[in-house]
Every structure is written in structure tokens, then in C-alpha cells.
């Protein structure tokens, strides 16, 4: 059934697909995961801080982000960020923000909502005696979080965090709405140029599948290695 297909188009497009497309996808995934984790941890700490106002703000933020489709947020943010920039800096014209910066900010903000819930569960999984012991030794709240609670929460949650990052890796393909050349965007461009839609989309699917599968397998190996012995 594949006799009509020309898989050589894939071979010819490989440098473009990977150097341009995959580099973008991986960079966006890595930066968004890192930013989302930092921002998300901050939100989780706000929610658990005991200050009602802070917790409420964080809660509303998380619920808001999780109630919107990602595509919509990406699209909406791309057009909104220049105006927010203008408002913040007081410039006379909308600030021009590149598609990459815009999508990165969007993904960080969106992922932060998910990562914060993961970190919150992780922090709550630590028994109350641990921060009590750290406090009793004279560690401040910040030190207790940094050296005692968060390292344990992070280790407990690492499998879930990486799984969420794998989902993020797939979700980055949604930047196609901004006509950005990520991996899927690159494949799509070649597909339309050469009229080889089936071949290119099939290949893209195989690549996403392989990378995600290998990553999932890696998570299990890693988990066994770094899990805290209890």
C-alpha cells in the first residue's frame, strides 16, 4: 500500500526538520519546563503559606489557567503581550515581542499552573514533623523549604513532573497557530511544499512517539535511582 509514497522526501528534509524544528521544540520545552517549575513552586508555596490573600490569588490563577484551552491562551497572549508591555513600560506603541518570547511566556504561565499543583501535592506529602525538626534546629522558613521540604517534595514528584514535561513536549506543537517553525511546523511546511502530507505526518508521529516513549522509560530508570530510601 506504500508503493505510491515517497519516503525519500523525509530523508531530504531531515536536516531542516531537526536543526530548525526539533531545536526549537526542545528549547521551548526545556525553558518552559524550567520556568514553569520555578514559577509553579512559587505558586504552590503561596497556596500553602497560610496567608489567605496570597493563597487566594494563587488559587484563582491556577483555576483560571486550567479552565482555558492552551491554544486559546497561546493565541490570545501573542496579541496581548505587546499591549501589556506597552502598559508596563509606558511606551507610546505596543512593544514588539517575538513569537518565541511570546510562546515561551505563555507556556511558562500555563505550565506553572499544572506544576504548582504537582509541587503542592509533593510538599503536602512531607510529614509535618520534618519542617518541625528543621525549625527546631533554628532553620528559618525559607531555609526549611529550600534544604528540607522542597528537595524531598521534588524527589517524590519527579516522575510526575517529567511526565508533565513529556505532555508539554507534545503540547509545544500548538505553536503552529503562530506560524512558528517547531518540529511539527517544519514537517507541515515540507509536507505542503512537496505534497507529501501522509509521509511527513507519519514521520512526525513516529518521532514524537519515539522521543516520548524513551523519555517515559527514562523516568522509570531515574526514579529507581534517585528515590529516597524510606
Amino acid at each position: 500500500m506504500f508503493s505510491n509514497f515517497d519516503f525519500d522526501v523525509v530523508r531530504r528534509a531531515l536536516p531542516y526538520l531537526f536543526y530548525e524544528g526539533m531545536t526549537f521544540t526542545v528549547t521551548l520545552t526545556a525553558l518552559a519546563a524550567l520556568g514553569g517549575l520555578i514559577f509553579g513552586t512559587a505558586i504552590a508555596l503561596m497556596r500553602l503559606s497560610g496567608f489567605k490573600v496570597l493563597g487566594h490569588i494563587a488559587g484563582v490563577y491556577v483555576d483560571f489557567m486550567r479552565s482555558l484551552p492552551l491554544v486559546l491562551v497561546i493565541f490570545w497572549f501573542y496579541f496581548l503581550v505587546p499591549y501589556i508591555g506597552q502598559w508596563v513600560t509606558g511606551a507610546s506603541r505596543p512593544i514588539s515581542v517575538g513569537a518565541f518570547a511570546s510562546s515561551l511566556i505563555t507556556f511558562i504561565m500555563f505550565e506553572a499552573a499544572y506544576f504548582s499543583e504537582i509541587m503542592r501535592a509533593g510538599i503536602q506529602s512531607i510529614s509535618r514533623g520534618q519542617p518541625a525538626a528543621a525549625n527546631a534546629l533554628g532553620l528559618t522558613y525559607a531555609q526549611t523549604m529550600r534544604y528540607v521540604v522542597l528537595p524531598q517534595a521534588f524527589r517524590n514528584m519527579l516522575p510526575v513532573l517529567i511526565t508533565q514535561t513529556i505532555v508539554l513536549f507534545q503540547d509545544t506543537s500548538l505553536v503552529y497557530v503562530l506560524s512558528i517553525t517547531d518540529f511539527l511546523g517544519a514537517a507541515s511546511k515540507v509536507a505542503q511544499r512537496d505534497g507529501r502530507l501522509v509521509e511527513m505526518y507519519l514521520f512526525a508521529a513516529v518521532v514524537y512517539f519515539t522521543i516520548s516513549c524513551v523519555a517515559s522509560f527514562g523516568v522509570r530508570r531515574l526514579q529507581a535511582r534517585i528515590a529516597i530510601i524510606r
Binding site: 520534618q130 518541625a132 525538626a133 525549625n135 527546631a136 533554628g138 532553620l139 528559618t140 524531598q152 529516597i228
Partner: protein, 243 residues
């Protein structure tokens, strides 16, 4: 060293856990706090280093008021060692790092000095060989001895023990008590919540008996074991000493 005066604590408007508790621990004294479960003895000892808040009364440690909002609590706590019922070692850190963390981060001791101090204390509790292991690789008794060493690494002026042997298998109780007896003989000021009456008889200067959030009896050791004045203390003693 520790002054507790008229401390009241409520968990809710109708549930009072501590009622007008007044007592003190002087320098070099070993005070054992005992009483039936739910009598508030753990809560009282946790109030001493402000791990538990209380609503009225005063507690001061070495002249510093614990319940004063202006008090630098981390600084105060760093001078008060505490040992918990469930050890609470940090499971993600090696034994030696458990001992070094607060030395380095709170006292700003350089790493090599902290390690030297840590190894010295581990040797003292007989666990020098375990320094590179993780807490979960040690038995309960060993973990509790590490926890005592961790508290001592801060050079505390007083040590609080919150039921240090209650979570241990019976054969491990004595190894922990031995360390505590040594500490007492060296002149450490200690406040110990425990049911180990043998320990109390051996090293305590005073025994405090609590029931339903009140300090019912606060007497020198010999008086307490010889002729407890209250009915409740007599009943309690007859129950736990009858075996």
C-alpha cells in the same frame, strides 16, 4: 533556664489543652514530665521552643521570651536542642549531612569544622561507621541516637526530649536511654517527656506529673516516687509500675 508561667492553650474555644501551667527548669537540672496520654505533656514541651503557639501566659528560655513577637525564633531555637518521638531525621541527606546542615546554615560553621564536630558526636553516640549511610538504613534506636547527636551539634544550652523512646522497639530503648543518662551526668539541662520511670529514677532531679492539661504534681524525684500527694499521680504510678 526555662520559665513557664500560667500558660494556657486552646485548640478551639471549647477545647483547652493546657490549663495554667507553671513550672521552671534551672540550669543543669533534669526534669521528667510524665502523665497519661492526652494530658498535654508533649504540647507543653513543644511550647517551650514555640513549635506550638499558646494563647496566654509566658515562657522564657535563658531570659528570652518565647512568645514575644520581637523574638528571633530561629536564633532562639538554634540554642534549644529537641529530640522527637519519630526521630525526624532528614531522609534525603546522609547521616553526616543531617548533622552538618544546621551547623552550616544556621551557625555559619565552615564545612570542615561542621564535619569534625559531627563525626565527634557520632563517635560519642557510637555511630561513627554509619556517617555515610542514609537514615532509612539505620535501626530506630540508631536513628534516635543520630537525632540526639544532630541536636547536640548546635551546642544547645538546654535539650528537650519529646517521648524519645516511645516509637522504639523494646530492645532499642536502652541504647537511647544510655546516651541520655550520659548527657544528664555531664550536666546538660534537660526537659524530658517520657514514660521511662527507670530513667526518671536514675537521673531526674524533679518529676512533673500532668493530667488533663494541668500540672498536678511538681516534686523532687524522691518525693514523687516516695509519696505522691495526689490521687491521680498515685493511680498513674501504680498502673505503669505494676509490671
Amino acid at each position: 533556664m526555662i520559665e513557664i508561667s500560667h500558660v494556657n492553650k486552646w485548640y478551639s474555644p471549647t477545647f483547652q489543652v493546657l490549663t495554667d501551667c507553671t513550672t521552671s527548669v534551672t540550669k543543669g537540672e533534669v526534669v521528667v514530665v510524665c502523665g497519661p496520654s492526652g494530658s498535654g505533656k508533649s504540647t507543653l514541651i513543644k511550647c517551650v521552643n514555640a513549635l506550638e503557639p499558646f494563647q496566654s501566659g509566658d515562657i522564657s528560655v535563658d531570659g528570652t521570651k518565647v512568645n514575644d513577637p520581637k523574638t528571633n525564633l530561629p536564633k532562639l531555637r538554634s540554642r534549644v536542642g529537641m529530640v522527637f518521638q519519630h526521630f525526624e531525621l532528614f531522609p534525603h541527606l546522609k547521616i553526616i549531612d543531617n548533622l552538618c546542615l544546621a551547623q552550616q546554615k544556621v551557625l555559619d560553621r565552615p564545612r570542615d569544622k561542621a564535619v569534625t564536630k559531627g563525626m565527634m558526636l557520632l563517635e560519642r553516640v557510637g555511630l561513627k561507621e554509619q556517617a555515610q549511610k542514609f537514615p532509612a538504613q539505620l535501626s530506630g534506636g540508631q536513628q534516635q541516637r543520630v537525632a540526639i547527636a544532630r541536636a547536640l551539634a548546635m551546642d544547645p544550652i538546654v535539650m528537650l526530649f519529646d517521648e524519645p523512646t516511645s516509637a522504639l522497639d523494646p530492645e532499642m530503648v536502652s541504647e537511647v536511654l544510655d546516651v541520655m543518662v550520659d548527657l544528664a551526668h555531664e550536666g546538660m539541662t534537660m526537659m524530658v517527656v517520657t514514660h521511662e520511670m527507670g530513667f526518671a529514677r536514675k537521673v531526674a532531679n524533679r518529676v512533673i506529673f500532668m493530667d488533663r492539661g494541668e500540672i498536678v504534681e511538681d516534686a523532687p524525684k524522691d518525693d514523687f516516687f516516695g509519696k505522691p500527694r495526689s490521687d491521680r499521680a498515685q493511680k498513674f504510678l501504680s498502673k505503669i509500675l505494676s509490671h
